[in-house]
């Protein structure tokens, strides 16, 4: 029994090491009879930095939510860290961090309380200290005891970033994380993403600033109406090509 468990653990470990961070196969998501994602396939190796580009409504946010296991795909397969994603994927979720479209924080609790709460849910050791360090990192050390509802949108966004980093995720999904940030904070977030990537985390960044995305990422996927229109190394792309592919009509003003 114990030996069996040990072998299974060992096989799991090898599968884990060999497998890519995310394996997406023919993924489809239909919401209320509307096809949001259709036939999306890609492999994302460990420690990759992927930019997800596309127009509004192209399916970037939905793809990120599917990858975050927040919602289930309607068709196709999804593996994270070599494991198929199922309903009870709590262990997988522990390795994923997400910066969402909304700030995903409790507005009546203070920034520090929010971070500490999630730190404890993720069983982060010395959650309070880590929360304080991260608040310092996002430049809000002196606002930690303020309720989130009293923070400006940009400040709350910085707390949201700190929340996503509390448990040092292996896979960071960022949905328009630069929304509402002032220039210094945006620069700091850029640095932070690069640093996380350098430390071996896999990052998927959905962003509308094409130049910024191509500068930060190694690889870019352009979504158009829920399908992968383009999947290439970021270095070989320029903003014009991305725009053309995202619009699908040459981007000409009629």
């Amino acid at each position: 029994m114990a030996a069996d468990f040990a072998t299974r653990l060992a096989t799991a470990a090898t599968a884990e090491a060999a497998s890519p961070c995310a394996r997406v196969r023919d993924l489809g998501k239909t919401i209320d009879d509307r096809a949001i994602l259709t036939g999306v396939s890609f492999d994302l190796p460990r420690a990759a930095f992927l930019a997800l580009l596309g127009e509004n409504g192209a399916g970037k946010s939905t793809l990120l939510r599917v990858l975050a296991t927040l919602t289930h795909p309607s068709s196709g397969r999804l593996e994270l860290f070599g494991q198929p994603v199922r309903h009870d994927s709590a262990r997988l979720r522990a390795r994923i961090g997400m910066i969402g479209h909304q700030i995903m924080l409790y507005r009546d609790l203070s920034a520090l309380e929010n971070l500490e709460l999630f730190g404890r849910l993720y069983s982060v050791p010395r959650a309070r200290r880590r929360a304080q360090e991260l608040l310092e990192f996002v430049g809000l050390a002196d606002r930690g005891t303020d309720a989130v509802k009293h923070l400006s949108r940009g400040m709350a966004q910085r707390v949201a970033i700190a929340r996503a980093l509390m448990h040092s995720p292996d896979l960071l999904l960022a949905d328009e994380p630069f929304t509402g940030l002032d220039a210094p904070s945006a620069a700091r977030l850029e640095l932070c993403l690069t640093e996380l990537h350098a430390r071996g985390a896999t990052i998927i960044l959905a962003n509308h600033d094409i130049a910024q995305s191509l500068r930060l990422a190694q690889r870019a996927i352009v979504l158009r109406r829920g399908r992968v229109a383009l999947d290439r190394a970021a270095g070989t792309l320029d903003a014009r090509t991305v725009l053309d592919e995202a619009a699908g009509n040459g981007g000409e003003l009629p």
Binding site: I31, D32, D33, R34, A35, T38, R224, R225, G226, R227, V228, A229, L230, D231, R232, E245, G248
Partner: protein
Amino acid sequence: MGTARRAFGPVYWTITIALLATGLWMSAFYATTESTMGPIQKIFYFHLPVAINTFIACFVVFVASAGYMMQRTAMWDDLAEAAARVAVLLCSVVLLTGMIWGRNAWGHWWTWSPRLTFSLVLWLLYVVYLMVRPSIESSQRRALVSAVYGIVAFLDVPLVYLSVKLLPDIHPSSIRLAPPMQHTLIVWFVAITMLSAGLIVARFRLGRLTRAGARAGAQDAPAHPRLVPLGKHA
């Protein structure tokens, strides 16, 4: 094959209507008139089969809801809705015939007798099912909430039944039936069951068609992306 399937519907409905007519004739002329209640007792041949079919329809809602929970396909949701509609219809008939019976047996249109109360609660449970559906905008969310409710409501039914039994009872629990009365009841039962099943299927088909129409509408405009040959950029 095709013609056989097309002929099935009319044949089915003809048999159903013929059975209903036979049932009517039998309750009027074949079954003996009961001594204490008089002719009003004949409503019973109709009342009991409808009541039983109400449960069957509720059970279909339950099964379809569970099916939706497992497979998440719109087909199950359509079936659950169709069955719930028929359940409410049948339950309304049970309530009305029950009230007519009560008026003649005890002189009041309404008494809080356990079974009348039970029918009323059952009716409320499934009317709510139908009323809540349109107020949920997202069709997936609507199907999910309905499915949860469809399951929970059915689990609730035995509890309702047990709790109304705490009320003092005056409902006739068992009636001794002469053989002609039994035959009449059986004919009615078959007729009503066929009617209910036919209604559920008809309503289910209508729901499928409406959904297919809505889906075609939703997909028509922008959601048909041109296929991009992926190799082009490689």
